[in-house]
């Protein structure tokens, strides 16, 4: 089986074309925007975190079929999970969840959402939850404007 046949399965197309948990989340208490440096795709994740557990999560942004399908499946999967469980997730977890094999060149696409969630969780609870770049500009605000 070629690598694209292992990646572009029926469930990937379904999750890509009808993504789960796509849209803004009212009342989120932690969030993060991340870009895929290769293609410039952005993903913005909003989470309601209570007692260290993800109560709700939604995302916005654009991406390839792999990144959106992974975001879609993961966003559903991590609801109800705690921070420790989520921070322990990696590429293997994503591959098992979607029952696909991610080729080496696409791991950044597959992990964009998960990396954004992890970063949001790390920031959550900080006295300043937002991220600032080297010039002191608010990255989240810039990302939101970009999206």
């Amino acid at each position: 089986m070629s690598s694209h046949e292992e990646m572009y399965r029926e469930n990937v197309f379904e999750l890509f074309k009808n993504p789960l948990n796509y849209g803004k989340l009212e009342g989120s208490n932690c969030s993060c925007s991340l870009s895929n440096l290769i293609c410039g795709d952005n993903i913005f994740v909003e989470i309601i975190l209570k007692d260290g557990e993800v109560k709700d999560i939604r995302f916005t942004g654009s991406g390839c079929a792999i990144s959106i399908a992974c975001a879609s499946a993961l966003s559903e999967d991590i609801k109800g999970r705690n921070e420790k469980e989520i921070l322990g997730m990696g590429l293997n977890y994503v591959e098992d969840l979607l029952e696909i094999k991610i080729s080496a060149g696409r791991s950044k696409c597959a992990l964009l959402f998960l990396d954004a969630v992890k970063e949001a969780l790390r920031r959550c609870g900080d006295s300043h939850r937002r991220s600032f770049d080297v010039h002191g500009e608010d990255i989240n605000k810039k990302m939101e404007e970009f999206i």
Binding site: H4, C39, G40, D41, C64
Partner: protein
């Protein structure tokens, strides 16, 4: 024309590879690889340091490449400075020009079709100096807006920095037209020739620029070597960016003075084997002439442009007069998905923003697929791409 594919070992070592990403980096012919290896095996020495034969010979060879580069771009009225690449050349300029900008000059003009390397360093100069960065628009036909350029380039303009050929659109900019504007405005004119030198005849005198920059690795040379050609009268006024060995004439505990141009701008040990490789790449190019490359790239562009248009739902982001590079999107399919699937069939194309995010925004897309040609490509490569793009459509059922 003879297809030069057999000159390039990459194709011997990767059977079936269709390489359509030469705008990112071109492959190296065996003669260049052999020349770099020979230098490392038999001639390796630092230059400008030793008085022993090995060092003297390496120094002579290094300087002969400098003359070769100068001849290659008609640069007799200026000086060739070696850098690590186009990005380094532009960064050097963005720092070194800061100190010589005249009173009343507080604007820098670039265009919407620039590579990040020709945007970010000027943004940073503006941030440091309080100058303003202005963008010449790109028209809907993917050409530069020369009316906009005329409006923007004025007496307040300190620097105009423009690509010769867009790394995304393949658009060839009319530099002579821009040069007449920069001369009238008394502005410094910088040309990013990364996608044009070695791909077509480029003569700095005809272009009418003050600085011209390019990289060796896009013209069959090694990575990590670039060129900054500049006019002597401006180089003389500029302060160095990097300080250290090789660029000084005298150092005391209190102060230092600089070596002459070009050494003044070449601090530290240079990438000597890379420069030797660049010299070999120019010899290779001169063997058949850049005119031959230009004709080949034009022919392949026209053929690919026509064949791509056969595909239902394709959107091409290059004009009919483009050169060597075509960007496109396949319906609503993300460029990464397209590149990933054709990769399975041995086709290497670029996907994403191509280090040109402001241009992507102008085009209203997150990214594009991009194909780019070199002399080792043929119409067969285009045909294979077209067949495999149709397979992508089948995978996505579009």
């Amino acid at each position: 024309m003879k297809n030069n594919k057999s000159d390039f070992p990459i194709f011997e070592n990767n059977k079936g590879l269709v390489y359509l990403d030469s705008a990112s980096t071109s492959q190296m012919p065996k003669v260049v690889i052999d020349r770099v290896t020979k230098f490392s095996e038999a001639e390796n020495s630092n230059v400008g340091r030793g008085i022993y034969d090995l060092s003297v010979k390496a120094g002579e060879e290094f300087e002969s490449v400098r003359r070769k580069v100068s001849d290659f771009i008609g640069g007799k009225n200026g000086e060739v400075i070696f850098t690590s690449g186009t990005t380094m050349s532009l960064n050097l300029l963005s720092y070194a020009l800061q100190g010589i900008i005249g009173d009343g000059k507080d604007e820098i003009v670039i265009s919407e079709m620039e590579h990040h390397s020709n945007i970010v360093c000027w943004q940073e100069l503006c941030r440091r100096s309080g100058m303003k960065l202005k963008f010449i628009p790109v028209l809907d036909n993917f050409e530069l807006d020369y009316v906009g350029a005329k409006r923007l380039i004025c007496e307040k303009t300190a620097i105009v920095s423009l690509c010769h050929v867009s790394n995304v659109l393949g658009t060839v900019n009319n530099l002579e037209k821009v040069s007449s504007l920069t001369k009238k405005a008394n502005a410094i004119f910088v040309v990013d020739a990364a996608q044009s030198v070695g791909h077509m005849d480029v003569d700095v005198e005809k272009v009418g620029c003050d600085f011209l920059v390019f990289s060796a690795h896009k013209i069959f040379g090694p990575m990590g070597v670039g060129v900054l050609w500049g006019k002597n009268e401006i180089l003389k006024k500029m302060n160095p960016l990097l300080f250290g060995g090789g660029m000084i004439s005298f150092v005391s505990k209190e102060e230092s003075s600089w070596a002459k141009i070009p050494e003044k701008f070449e601090a530290g040990t240079q990438n000597v084997s890379g420069v030797i490789g660049l010299g070999s790449a120019i010899d290779y190019l001169n063997g058949f002439g850049t005119k031959t490359v230009e004709e080949c790239l034009k022919r392949l562009f026209t053929y690919a442009f026509g064949r791509l248009k056969e595909i239902n739902g394709i959107k091409i982001y290059s004009g009919e007069n483009g050169f060597g590079i075509i960007s496109f999107n396949l319906g609503g399919i993300h460029s990464h998905d397209v590149a990933s699937i054709v990769n399975d069939y041995g086709i290497a194309i670029r996907a994403g923003h191509h280090c040109a995010m402001p241009l992507m925004k102008r085009l209203g897309v997150d990214g594009t697929c991009r194909i780019s040609f070199q002399i080792y490509n043929s119409e067969d490569d285009v045909d294979r791409l077209i067949e495999d793009l149709k397979k992508v459509l089948e995978v996505f059922r579009e």
